[in-house]
Symmetry: C2
Subunit: 159 residues, 2 copies
DNA sequence: GCACCTGGGTTGCGCTTGCCAACCCAGGGC
DNA sequence: GCCCTGGGTTGGCAAGCGCAACCCAGGTGC
């Protein structure tokens, strides 16, 4: 489950992928963002096998992306539903970045997929790098660096 | 390889995950962002099995995230290297979003992982939703919607 | 009271993927 | 001729995934 063997969990990207990187996981989160909460809703929307879905939901609950809670419809029996936690809400940004990338680099004839809009206005939103002072930055203006181990020099590691 | 059976490729999130969602794939891209280009660099940095690495590199080349090209060191033989294409560069935003999420929601005692900085200044950058007019938005101000099939009403689909 | 339905799963079993170790092979150096 | 090094391929085994079948608790109909 979350007992990965790719041990470089010193990297937060790897730690994110450790819990989100299995097949279906982010698609379950996507459906949760659309407001789906129930086992059968996820199963029917995604066509995922019920055992796999069961496993993914359990993992997402375990790591705090979803919260499992009982509910009861009027006159119905007690059932379980899965709702996003604040940590799950924050995954919207990851999903939106993936959506933007797929839109641009893996176009399809017809796309009925997700869109992200500003709640207040309904206008579509984008994702972007933002500098410390608030300026938007293009991906080309951003550099990936690894932290230096013991500061041998104060300059940024060039690679 | 890229012959997935999760057929709802009408969604660009699913299409992105179709090519990026296998184990190791995004970590290979992460290493490529750090400037690694060679098979053995990826293998040594990640500890990934060579057959899996070979498969992931081939897929990434096939979908246009990496470009494979021969090079020759002085007095050496011809070898292959893998460099990010512009489509690969755009994945920095996805990696940064994952990094930010992991940083916040999966903290580790020690994190020597990736950091993203502004190339011009070396200052760290963040990722964010941005409205059409350029305002930054919190994740809570953003709504995930599915496009309506035939506009039955002009309002935004609430769920 | 009993059969039935429905939501929310679990179980068994085969297929596919991933992992590890071992091997390969081309070219250059010695 | 032999070894070394980079860039892989091959084989065997374990884990993950998918399908179909089954389960079970509680509410409804009769």
């Amino acid at each position: 489950m979350v007992v990965s063997a790719w041990k470089d969990l010193n990297c937060s990207i790897a730690r994110s992928l450790d819990v989100l990187g299995e097949r279906w996981t982010l698609l379950v989160v996507r459906e949760a963002c659309f407001g789906r909460t129930r086992f059968s809703e996820f199963r029917d929307a995604l066509g995922v096998a019920p055992d796999v879905l069961s496993d993914r939901l359990a993992t997402l609950v375990e790591v705090g992306v979803l919260e499992r809670r009982p509910y009861r419809e009027d006159g119905g029996r007690r059932r379980e539903e899965y709702v996003l936690t604040p940590a799950g809400d924050d995954l919207r940004l990851v999903l939106a970045a993936l959506q933007a990338w797929g839109d641009q680099h893996r176009p399809a004839r017809e796309d009925r997929g997700a869109r992200f809009v500003e709640a207040a206005t309904g206008e579509p939103v984008t994702t972007s790098f933002v500098a410390a002072d608030g300026r938007r930055l293009e991906p080309g203006e951003v550099l990936a660096v690894r932290p230096v181990r013991r500061p041998p020099s104060p300059v940024v590691a060039p690679v």
